[in-house]
């Protein structure tokens, strides 16, 4: 051997590497021993990548603020396929380096992290997945002759869509039960006609082909409420009930919320009031009811929120409702906004007591909104239930853009409830419809007799909201798939000439926000309403329904393929003012290759 110290020889002296749990143990010590890291500088934004179809180098721009000066840094960032990062959409801040990063959508690339960063106390949890979803079984086909009525409560929630997006951006398919098709459809804006004078809703219907079975048809029912001018929004009394437990210490949780609240503060008017109640190990008032002209005080309270401790939601929620009542604005919007990652340990109070409290407060005019944050610990089912009991809505906040949508854009007008306890009942005409299936709204089903029962609670609709429901219709003469009952023997064939040509009648019951008695709207849908081509909105809702059914692996999805869904969605982009549809198209593409 010539050189005993050749590279090759040196390499023979092998030594062990670090044990597999080494990094975890170091991180634990950092957390437990309170190791302090002097931080170099504070960022306003931290960029990150969601998930890309292929490894790529991207360039992201990060703005940081020191005092009044804003300084931009540009980072090169290598992303592997399936890289996971929390992210916030913010188009302005993204630049793509080589244009080769296939499979991402340009508007889903940046993660934001507000300037106020909590101390580096949290250990990356080895994260057992503790997300909980209620089981959903797709609504089956029903024979019209046996069951001509279909009744359900409206749903303006959109949380499911944002939650699905979160999974897909990580390159994973969401759990089937996390997919609520109606919430996906209702996430998007549709160009429905404005309501007639004096009526809270417009009802529009459209008939087209079913993408799931060439012999079937789809009927789209769209409700739309009047928009309210921002200036005419009644004064707001918002009590934020914020979970500051240790689990909220992640960039996409408390810091994101703080950032979003900061944006909301900008929009507050002197007649608006904000209070903040925090809960964790103990609960307390972080901000007494403060009017919108004291923006600095509100901002200071928001900035001081720091996570720590375990969660006990019950004390906090009582405190929040007490504050809301103490500062109640008659004729205004009074709302408790619960912000949590769902680790909602109800502690001394059980869930039953909690829902009773929420229901009682609802009758006093204080409604509940639930905002879900973060991932891995999301108690989706509990949160949706709580919001429903409180006449409220439930939204999942996965990004700054979503936070802005919910807290800023919708915190004004859409918090004005235009109609409460809104129920839909569809009566199908057996002469024209052999069978039908309601797409989505599985956990919104009502008994037929509940429709006229004003004591039965149902969903509420705010100003400027639209609600869409799709029915898949089996025309008369076509066999109903897997119909659960035999043809009825003793029923007379109903075909009254007066109703000839009617496919169905859509009935809506609703109450004015302060009324106890419901009003009825109804409208017949004629078979000959079907046009040779369908509107962009119809095709979009259809594509999204197909997207959802595919994610759910619905038994009713027929032979539809990802490719077809993609093509349908592509052709139904419309004007897409806010880019939501483009984003969805990107998600469809991601889903087509993702695995569970």
């Amino acid at each position: 051997m010539k050189d005993p110290l050749s590279n090759e020889n040196l390499a023979r002296y092998e030594v062990p590497g670090a044990p597999a749990d080494f990094a975890s143990r170091v991180m634990e010590r950092i957390a437990n021993e309170d190791v302090v890291a002097p931080r170099r500088r504070r960022w306003k934004w931290v960029a990150g990548i969601s998930s890309v179809a292929a490894a790529a180098v991207v360039v992201v721009m990060v703005s940081q603020r020191s005092g009044d000066a804003v300084h931009d840094d540009v980072f090169k960032y290598k992303v592997e396929r399936d890289t996971k990062h929390s992210l916030i959409r913010n188009e302005e801040l993204v630049r793509k380096s080589d244009g080769k990063a296939e499979g991402w959508t340009a508007n889903t690339l940046i993660a934001a992290q507000p300037a106020v960063m909590p101390g580096p106390r949290q250990v990356e949890p080895p994260a057992p997945n503790t997300e909980a979803y209620s089981r959903i079984d797709d609504n089956p086909f029903i024979t019209t002759a046996a069951h001509p009525l279909s009744t359900f409560s409206v749903d303006v929630d959109t949380a499911s869509y944002a939650n699905i997006r979160r999974f897909l951006l990580q390159g994973k398919l969401p759990p089937k039960d996390a997919v609520r098709v109606e919430e996906m459809i209702n996430y998007f804006d549709y160009d429905y006609p404005a309501p007639e004078r004096g009526e809270p809703f417009s009802i529009s219907t459209e008939i087209g082909p079913s993408p799931f079975n060439p012999k079937f048809q789809l009927v789209r029912i769209g409700l739309h409420t009047q928009r309210i001018d921002e200036a005419k929004v009644p004064p707001r009394n918002l009590v934020f009930l914020i979970d500051v437990s240790g689990s909220m210490n992640a960039p996409e949780k408390l810091p994101l919320l703080q950032h979003a609240l900061g944006m909301l503060v900008e929009r507050l008017r002197p007649q608006d009031k904000v209070s903040i109640v925090i809960y964790a190990g103990a609960s307390g008032v972080a901000l007494r009811p403060t009017t919108g002209d004291h923006k600095d005080a509100i901002r200071a309270a928001i900035n001081e929120l720091t996570p720590g401790g375990s969660t006990n939601g019950a004390d906090g929620i009582e405190l929040a409702y007490n504050l809301a009542e103490a500062s109640l604005i008659r004729g205004g919007i009074n709302r408790v906004v619960l912000c949590t990652d769902g680790d909602f340990n109800v502690g001394v109070t059980n869930e039953g007591d909690l829902t009773r409290l929420i229901e009682r407060e609802r009758t006093r005019g204080v409604y509940l909104t639930v905002l879900g944050f973060g991932m891995g610990n999301l108690k989706d089912a509990t949160m949706e239930k709580l919001a429903d009991r409180g006449n409220g809505n439930y939204a999942y906040i996965d990004s700054l853009a979503e936070a802005r949508k919910v807290l800023v854009e919708q915190a004004g007008a859409t918090l004005v409830t235009v109609a409460k306890d809104v129920k839909l009942q569809i009566e199908l005409n057996p002469a024209a419809v052999a069978g039908y299936r309601l797409i989505g709204y599985e956990n919104r089903a009502l008994r037929d007799e509940d429709f006229n029962d004003d004591k039965k609670d149902a969903g509420d609709v705010g100003a400027g909201h639209s609600v869409t429901a799709l029915y898949e219709i089996v025309p008369a003469g076509v066999a109903v798939p897997a119909a659960k009952v035999d043809a009825l023997k003793y029923q007379t064939k109903p075909a009254p000439a007066a109703n000839a040509g009617e496919l169905m009648t859509v009935k809506i019951r609703y109450k004015s926000p302060d009324a106890n008695q419901s009003k009825l709207l109804s409208r017949a849908v004629m078979s000959n309403e079907r046009r040779p081509t369908q509107s962009v909105d119809f095709r979009w809702a259809t594509a999204i329904a197909a997207f959802g059914m595919m994610l759910r692996e619905s038994p009713y999805r027929g032979n539809i393929s990802w490719k077809q869904i993609q093509a349908m969605a592509d052709a139904a982009r419309g004007t897409d003012r806010n880019g939501h549809r483009a984003e969805a198209i990107g998600l469809i593409s991601t889903a087509s290759t993702a695995t569970r």
Binding site: P4, L5, V15, G17, V35, V46, F75
Partner: protein, 189 residues
């Protein structure tokens, strides 16, 4: 003769580093995962026959805690490599640990077994012999040689890490090589 055995891994990307400097624990964890093996390789060879799983692990932990405390001071302006910076901290932590320990209490020849077990290829026993030869070097020579040969440090980087001047680094390296070559003579043809 610089050998990039432990340098095959690329440096941590800028953004993750910047995040770690912000106190982002997930990013710091990534940093550990990126550099832990290089740190362990340096420590195992540096402690040589006195190496023991728990000692190396302790010093490894101390190293990354020190990195965590001072990561904000690392200048990510391209003039220094993060790997060099971290291995410098590992070097100093290891030297301190050796000076703290009393030699009598250290176990004997454990590493020789490890090395012998791993030394499968020809020339027979070379790795064990190299290990012994490295152990026989005085500590300043050994660490200088390890940083240069296994971790791709430049003379200047070694000088900075050990707080000596570049001339000293060069003379230590040449003496270390001379001694090692002499000790490994039997493996020459």
């Amino acid at each position: 003769m610089a050998l990039a055995i432990e340098r095959s891994a690329t440096e941590l990307d800028d953004l993750t580093l910047a995040r770690a400097q912000q106190g982002d624990t997930a990013a710091f964890r990534q940093l550990i995962e990126q550099y832990q093996h290089a740190v362990f390789a340096l420590l195992w060879r540096f402690f040589g026959r006195r190496a023991r799983t728990d000692i190396v692990d302790d010093v490894g932990q101390e190293t990354f805690l020190a990195v965590y405390r001072s990561i904000g001071r690392f200048r990510a302006d391209g003039t220094a490599r993060l790997s060099t910076w971290i291995l410098t901290i590992a070097t100093r932590t290891a030297i301190k640990a050796v000076r703290r320990a009393t030699p009598e209490t250290l176990p004997l020849d454990e590493v020789a077994d490890v090395v012998a077990a791993q030394d499968s290829g020809a020339p027979g026993g070379f790795a064990a012999a190299l290990g012994r030869a490295l152990d026989a070097l005085a500590e300043p020579y050994r660490i200088t040689f390890l940083l240069r040969a296994y971790h791709d440090f430049s003379y200047e980087e070694i000088a900075k890490a050990l707080e000596v001047d570049v001339g000293t680094v060069k003379s230590r390296l040449s003496r270390a090589r001379g001694q090692l070559q002499a000790a490994l003579k039997e493996f020459e043809p």
